[in-house]
Symmetry: C2
Subunit: 149 residues, 2 copies
């Protein structure tokens, strides 16, 4: 768990996060609060949905991917927050128990024009289940530059 | 709470959702699972962050906006799920107790080229606090066409 500052990210670099899975309860609990559609909240009713069973809210899948990246610890002292996320594509359903593996690629690294203490890093997240991409998105974050000395 | 099918959405139409607020506990609970950064998880440590206090994870704010829209009930029988979200911009922080008001505008409505039973609807979500936009994003959903008869 070592903080990485703006200067420590390089375009093309890949970062792997720890695998994780969502239980039926995890999926239902999230969806009741944030995406109450029956294919996310009701395992029985979900059987007759287009997905044939319970699937995680897409919003939960991007949150899981992001959370696993944050747990790598790189942003602990460096993140100044994120202004944007782009191009979120949900490519396949995520079901209870699926092993979710997220790889994060550095797409772009550029200094801030207006604020000399920071830079902008764009990261592409790809979450896979059994090597098949299920979610992909791009996240933009402001990162502190490495302190002098 | 009436289901609206593909044909029932019109470009330019505005839909208002019910106001809602996040408590400190709501913010911390979400962030511990999905975005464990101290300005989202630790009200005390957040005071010395760039935000000067606890703020909600951006991922939680889009989930709240989407959830409030789903609670209008329009998608109950019509939604076939969403393939994409685009252009998520976090414009200002969301703090505990802020009244969150989300307006949803219909940006685009088009029939599916490959599947005659459905169409594609693109909705722009704007969440405001005190009339100031705090989050904006575009969500794409597949919707069933109105059943015959």
């Amino acid at each position: 768990m070592t903080t990485r500052y703006f200067e420590d990210f390089e375009v093309g670099e890949l970062m792997e996060t720890a695998p994780v899975a969502l239980s039926t309860d995890d999926i239902v609990e999230f969806a009741k609060l944030y995406d109450p559609q029956t294919f996310h909240t009701d395992p029985e009713a979900a059987k007759s949905s287009p997905y044939g069973g319970l699937i995680a809210s897409g919003l939960q899948t991007i949150a899981v991917a992001f959370g696993q990246f944050i747990r790598l610890g790189y942003f602990v002292k460096s993140s100044l927050g994120g202004p944007a996320t782009d191009d979120v594509d949900w490519l396949a359903p995520v079901r209870p128990g699926d092993e979710l593996n997220t790889v994060v690629e550095v797409l772009e690294v550029r200094p801030s024009k207006s604020k000399p203490d920071r830079g902008i890093v764009r990261l592409q997240f790809t979450m896979k289940v059994d090597d098949i991409p299920v979610v992909r998105f791009i996240s933009t974050t402001f990162l502190r530059r490495r302190p002098a000395g």
